[in-house]
Structures are given as C-alpha cells and as structure tokens.
C-alpha cells in the first residue's frame, strides 16, 4: 500500500515548507475544476488533500510515523466540485463575457463560438466555412375559423422582429408551419435557418372539429322535429338552409356534404348536424293538456333495451 509520503512524492524527512510546496504543485496539477474532463483527477486530488491534511499537522504526522494512525483514516468527506455544476444549465450563469456586469447572458456563448470557429475566411483548411443558421420554433394561437378557412396573423418574435404568418386552410391543432429562412441568421454568409410555427387552434363556441369534418349541435323546437322544417344553420363559411325531415328525433344526425374542412389534396369534409329537441322554457298549460291527452292513447316504450341493466 502506498504511504502518504509517496502520495505526495516526498521523503519521510521532508520539512513542513517543502511538504506544502509539494502539495501545492500536485493540487495545481490535479484540482478537478481545472481538469473538467478528467475523471481520475477527483480521486487523485482527494487522495493528495487527505495526505496533506494529515502530514501538515505535526501532532498527527508524529503519530502516523509511529504507526498509530493508518492511511485509511485520513479519507476526506465527500464533496462536490464546481465542475459537477458548471456543465449544467446553472453553470451558464458564469458565462465569462458577462463578468463585470454580473448578468449571465447565456445563449450567446454558442453563437460566439460558432462565429469564431466557422466565421473566418481564408485561414481555415477549406478557406472559410459557411454555416446555416439554427431553426427557431415559435407557438401561435389561432382562431378556429382561421384554421379552417385560412388566415393571416402577425407574430412578434423575442428579438422584436415581427413575422406575418399565413395560415393555410385546413390547418390542424398542433401542426407546425415552416417559414423558410425566418430562423436564426447564418454564419459566414450561410443561409438563415427556418422558423417553425406550432399552431394551437382555439376552440369554437359552436363548431367542433373531427379530422376534416365539422360537428354542430342544433337545437330544434318540438314542432320543427315532429313536422319537419327548413332551418338556417351556421357553417364554417356562412349560414345555409337545412331541411329537417318530419319525425326527426333528438340525436338525429344530418349531413351537409362538402361543408367541412378543406383537405390537403383537394376536396372538403362534411358538416354533421346533430339535432337536439328543445321544449319551451316554461311548458304552458295548453302543451301539458295536449300531451296528457295524447299520451293516454299513444303509449310507447323508449327504454326497452335498458331492462337487462
């Protein structure tokens, strides 16, 4: 087993002053924060530190020389080094350009490095390096009908620049639009990156979208359901007349062909209208009297298939 003198590379009769010098030289060589990529440096540094801790104390050194303390008792407490943090996100606060104003402007470091590495012309192995700018991603909330019919929206980027975004008809929630050349600027004359705009479609008060189809719940009166009617119905591109056949029920679904969302390859989805029979807000005596008389002679079973449950 290596003894503590050997760890520090000194002889047993080393003077305290020489011991300190030897320790300093080794600590400079092995301090983990000065050798961030070297895994063994930490063990070595701790070993050196522990050896010096013991040998620099005259009392302990005497006892060690007499064999009363062994090497293993000198282990230093575990600690974490700066390098364990510096490589992570919090370490970016110590970005060196900002020393002086105390305000870590992380995020610029990478660009500076790339500009430095790739931006010079003539001197490099290939005589200059062009590098495409990075892509940027932005989120944009968009009204339901703008997503269905297409629209135009202006967004302001973090750097204050604004971008006009054309939302194509039929845009889906979560879809990303690519704006060529609107990302980060390139280096050394390289082209700019692209901007990706992730679209979040806001819900609509009346319409619900399912793929290329639009769903709408349509309240109808008792009379319209029983007798049939022609009703003005909203669609994504304006109201149309819908024929409700006589004898329609709550939950009946009618289709307005081609009134849905534009499909990418051409054509459009459909709008589905689900009827919901609405009674008058306050049933009047006439209605009660009529239904009472009618029900007595026209019984019907609406829960026949529920009996098993």
């Amino acid at each position: 087993m290596t003894n503590l003198y050997e760890i520090l590379g000194v002889s047993k009769d080393v003077s305290p002053d020489e011991l300190r010098k030897a320790y300093r030289a080794l600590a400079k060589k092995y301090h983990p924060d000065l050798r961030p990529g070297d895994k063994e440096a930490e063990d070595r540094f701790k070993e050196i530190g522990a050896a010096y801790d013991l040998l620099s104390d005259p009392e302990k050194r005497k006892r060690y020389d007499a064999g009363e303390i062994d090497d293993s008792g000198a282990e230093k407490a575990d600690r974490r080094f700066y390098r364990d943090y510096a490589d992570g996100g919090d370490g970016a606060r110590y970005y060196w350009h900002s020393s002086g104003d105390g305000d870590g402007r992380s995020g610029f470091a990478a660009e500076d490095v790339f500009a430095d590495l790739f931006g010079r012309t003539g001197g490099g192995r290939q005589g200059g390096f062009r590098m495409r700018g990075a892509d940027a991603t932005y989120a944009l909330s968009c009204a339901f009908l703008d997503a269905v019919n297409g629209g135009r929206q202006r967004i302001t980027l973090p750097d204050g620049k604004s971008l006009d975004v054309t939302i194509p008809p039929g845009t889906r929630d979560g879809q990303s639009l690519r704006l060529k050349g609107q990302g980060r600027p390139g280096m050394g004359g390289g082209p700019a990156g692209d901007a990706y705009i992730e679209i979040h479609v806001l819900p609509h008060r009346l319409f619900r979208r399912d793929g290329d189809d639009i769903h709408l719940e349509l309240p109808v009166t008792l009379a319209e359901a029983v007798l049939g009617a022609k009703i003005r119905v909203p669609t994504v591109d304006g109201p149309v007349d819908l024929s409700v056949p006589a004898g329609s029920n709550s939950g009946s679904r009618l289709r307005l062909r081609g009134k849905g969302v534009a499909r990418p390859g051409g054509g459009r989805g459909d709008q589905f209208v689900t009827l919901k029979i609405s009674l008058p807000e306050k049933p009047d005596d006439d209605l009660k009297a009529f239904v009472d008389g009618w029900a007595k002679t026209h019984p019907y079973d609406v829960r026949g298939d529920m009996e098993a449950a």
């Binding site: 320790y23 510096a86 110590y94 990478a110």
Partner: protein, 105 residues
C-alpha cells in the same frame, strides 16, 4: 438556496473576501429581500475559489487571469455538449459524416 451565513459555515471564505468576489462577479448569488442567496453552483464556486487560493496558492491577480480562462473552458464544454446533442439528432448519414470529420482532426 444558501444564505451568507451558511456559506461561511460550509467554506473557508470570510465576509470581506466574499464581498470582493461578489463585487468582481467571481461569484454571482441572487439578492432577495432577505439578502444574498447562493445556489449549489454558487457554493461549489466558492469552494473552488477557496481551493485555488488556499491550496493552490493563487492570489487575486492570478485569479483575474485564471478565472476567465476557466469560465471559457466551461462555456466551451457546454457548447460542445449542445453540439453533441444536436449531432445525435441528425440522420445517421450526416452523423457519421460529422464523426469521420472529427476523427480526421
């Protein structure tokens, strides 16, 4: 987060010295209504500075040279890490081309 007093308990720095480090931005704690607050990173940074001064024998003049260099090394390491991750996201063919190019260096 650690308070000023906790930093004094855990490290070898004293009040006067730490004030100088903060003023020089060698250590960058944040300030709230109750005073300075040190993150784990800041604490490790204080310990590193103590080592550099007490164990390695550097003085403030030397640290003025060493610290910026050290911070640049860590900046570069963060950048390389980001770059490595970005390379990892590339299609395999591009990834292999980058790796071949690095191997030639």
């Amino acid at each position: 987060m650690f308070t000023l007093e906790e930093i004094f308990v855990r490290t070898r720095v004293d009040r006067q010295e730490l004030d100088i480090w903060i003023e020089r931005s060698w250590v960058r704690p944040v300030r709230d209504e109750r005073g300075w607050r040190f993150s784990e990173t800041d604490l490790a940074r204080v310990e590193m500075l103590c080592d550099l001064i007490h164990d390695l024998g550097l003085d403030r003049e030397a640290l003025d040279v060493v610290l910026p260099l050290l911070d640049q090394v860590y900046d570069l390491r963060r950048t390389v890490r980001v770059l490595t991750e970005a390379i990892g996201d590339l299609p395999q063919e591009s990834r292999e081309r980058v790796i071949r190019r690095l191997a030639r260096n």
